[in-house]
């Protein structure tokens, strides 16, 4: 068990505004006892990095319907450049198989596709947050 609940940012980057997925996931993770920071769509990458640092988030969940996932490798680079490489990034939405491989290679921890259950997503996020905390504790001892 984590001492503090996992802290997750649920957001959308890029140009698309369809936010049903992000709203449903945010509400569910909150109901599961996680601390959720939800943003409206259209977030610039720099704003997401800043938010992750300010909020000391464990996980960033990017919801993508219309190819905005193509920007996620840039987000991961930006997190690294800002020294926040421990924050784990997960992507949920329409991600074609070839892109999924590219995302995982760039450092995305998990990709969820349509049909993934809310429970499966919550379990994945919780496990990732646990790993982030373990790394942090390892670093501080």
């Amino acid at each position: 068990m984590l001492e503090r609940p996992p802290k997750v940012i649920i957001t959308k980057i890029g140009l698309d505004g369809h936010d049903r997925g992000s709203r449903v996931i945010a509400a569910y993770l909150r109901d599961c006892g996680m601390e959720v920071v939800y943003t409206p769509p259209w977030q610039p990458l720099a704003a997401v990095v800043k938010l992750a640092i300010e909020e000391d988030a464990d996980v960033i969940g990017i919801s993508s319907l219309a190819t905005d996932h193509l920007l996620v490798p840039k987000l991961i680079d930006a997190l690294r450049a800002a020294g926040a490489e421990e924050v784990q990034v997960v992507v949920g939405g329409i991600v074609p198989p070839t892109d999924e491989a590219r995302l995982l290679e760039s450092g995305v921890a998990l990709v969820f596709h349509p049909g993934a259950s809310l429970q499966e997503i919550a379990d994945g996020v919780r496990a990732l947050a646990g790993r982030v905390r373990a790394v942090q504790e390892g670093a501080s001892t």
């Binding site: 890029g14 140009l15 369809h18 709203r23 449903v24 409206p40 769509p41 198989p97 070839t98 596709h113």
Partner: protein, 558 residues
């Protein structure tokens, strides 16, 4: 339920009681099922639920008030629905190729989906290049539009533009028509993404303008079209965005009608005549796989709109009472698992829409849940419509489910629920006020969550997802490749070259004029058209209006 007025009521009551006993003995389930809108569905409907005595008032004949059975006397028997597939990808040349292919395969009208950068009010050189042309066509200038529509007979084909506020794509279309010598009066089609409220509450595909600015731009657009473009539908009020965002079918219909009332009341306040502008109002809906509920949604909406247009908006011309709608099969119902099953889902959805009396139909491609559709999948979607129309003969009889005890009782009940929701929005002060308060977004959000819970718990079966699962079989589906980078690079170079070549002073003057119009009472669409004709780009027009009318944000509620 309707009052039983059937002469055989007593006999029927006895018979129904006898049947109910036999039914209960033969089923283990309690028999309590409700549809997505929360209407409880009984296992059997009889004349006790809908007797037909109210035929003239409740249904009437096709083409006659209250239009429950259809808005035209001949409906699909006279003229089949328009097959309108959404198309938009890559650069204008890519779009033009796909368009010609679809027209050759039976599509009878065209559509244009712009790149998301266009929805958001930016030119190609203002956004991350990775996102250009991946889910819509990059169109920023009149010259882009010329290339997109090369060889397409604009004077003969209706054109649905997914053209969000401030309607620069229509301005470009009109400019292209003028260059070809086609009078604006010959241009027919629809501004498909004109319903700004649905953008603020549901899909957030707008150009960061503040809501009051969007409201003004829309009324100006309707006023301009009423005056100058007799063949153009300036507004399509959209239930699809809200239903895709999670609204139930009843909510989607109710909020759409509330939005339409709000727009109509704005037009009346501007001094426009409902008998002139209402015949050019159109609607756009989602068709979910909840088959009978969708049929009833459309029939109830059609009847209700006729009453609202006549009684509340005071329209006297019967053309103003007609509920013309385009519908699209629901992408939310499609699954990534066993993707070919989506062809069956789209077929069921399309039949519901056809029985619901639609005027225009887009059938989704089975691979939409994997990526932007491939050419092959898009052709199957068109073929599905041809099969339903010409092999299955769905067009032979008008409103073939009319008179079904179930469908009529359900139509009545959906109508009641829709009316209750409209009353809620009215009580909040109308649709603009209701979305500013978050009322609509909250209801949509709760419904989205309720549906997801039903899927999660297995109460709602989704084949291949929570039932009948098999080993993943999506490997044999080839997702579309993204636009060729070289074409995107060339498009960016062309934009730069266009911006360098045009008459700079004329562009600056036209944009100044647009800014002045924003603070005065001159028609904004006329100013947008003048700016586009002078060589202003989409991004420049949007930037000017944002600056002058204020920045906006999505009105989200979680």
């Amino acid at each position: 339920m309707n009052k039983p007025i059937h002469p055989l009521t007593d006999e029927l009551a006895v018979g129904e009681a006898r049947w109910a006993k036999a039914f209960a003995a033969g089923t283990r389930e309690p028999g309590c099922i409700s549809n997505r809108s929360g209407v409880e569905i009984k296992p059997l409907y009889t004349p006790r639920d809908w007797a037909g005595g109210q035929y003239a008032d409740a249904l009437g004949f096709p083409g006659e008030y209250p239009y429950t059975r259809g808005i035209y006397a001949s409906m699909h028997r006279g003229r089949a629905w328009t097959q309108r597939q959404l198309v938009g990808l890559g650069v204008p040349e890519d779009y033009n190729e796909r368009l010609k292919d679809l027209l050759a395969h039976g599509a009878t009208a065209i559509s244009l989906i712009p790149c998301n950068s266009v929805f958001r009010g930016y030119d190609a050189d203002e956004v991350d290049a990775e996102l250009l042309g991946t889910c819509g066509t990059v169109v920023n200038t009149v010259e882009d539009m010329e290339r997109a529509l090369e060889g397409v007979p604009l004077e003969r084909i209706s054109c649905a533009l997914n053209d969000p506020s401030p309607f620069t794509l229509l301005a470009m279309l009109l400019a292209v028509a003028r260059r070809r010598g086609i009078p604006a009066s010959r241009i027919t089609g629809t501004s498909n993404q004109s319903d700004c409220i649905s953008h603020f509450v549901a899909n957030h595909m707008f150009f960061r303008i503040a809501l009051p600015g969007a409201r003004r731009i829309l009324v100006d657009h309707i006023a301009y079209a009423n005056r100058e473009l007799p063949g153009w539908n300036p507004i399509s009020v959209v239930g699809q965005h809200m239903q895709q965002a999670g609204a139930t079918p009843a909510e989607a219909m109710a909020f759409t009608l509330s939005s339409a009332l709000q727009y109509a009341e704005d037009c009346i306040a501007r001094g426009l005549d409902p008998d002139v502008f209402l015949p050019r109002f159109t609607f756009f809906f989602d068709i979910s796989i909840s088959f009978f509920e969708e049929v009833a949604k459309f029939r109830a909406g059609r009847r209700l709109w006729a009453r609202l247009a006549r009684e509340r908006l005071g329209a006297r011309d019967p053309r103003a009472w007609r509920f013309k709608f385009h519908a699209q099969t629901s992408g939310v119902d499609l699954t990534r698992q066993q993707p070919l099953n989506n062809i069956a889902r789209v077929t069921a959805q399309a039949i519901a829409g056809i029985f619901g009396g639609l005027q225009s139909l887009h059938t989704d491609s089975y691979d939409e849940v994997l990526s932007t559709p491939t050419g092959e999948a898009a052709r199957i979607a068109v073929a599905t419509q041809n099969i339903l129309r010409e092999e299955a003969h769905l067009v032979d009889v008008i409103d073939p489910l009319g008179g079904s005890y179930y469908v009529e009782a359900l139509t009545d009940e959906m109508e009641r629920r829709i009316e209750v929701l409209i009353a809620k929005v009215d009580a909040a002060g109308g649709m603009y006020a209701a979305v500013e308060q978050g009322l609509v977004q909250r209801m949509i959000g709760e419904s989205a969550r309720r549906f997801q819970d039903a899927v999660e718990s297995g109460r709602q079966t989704v084949v291949g997802v929570n039932a009948y699962r098999t080993a993943e079989a999506s490997a044999d589906v080839r997702p579309l490749e993204y636009p060729e980078r070289s074409r995107i690079t060339a498009q960016l170079a062309r934009l730069a070259e266009f911006k360098a070549r045009r008459a700079q002073a004329a562009v600056a003057n036209a944009l100044d004029e647009l800014a002045r119009a924003a603070h005065g009472s001159a028609n904004l669409f006329a100013a947008v058209l003048a700016a586009v004709e002078a060589g202003a780009t989409h991004g420049e027009v949007c930037a000017t209006l944002r600056r002058e009318l204020g920045f906006g944000q999505p009105l989200t509620v979680v």
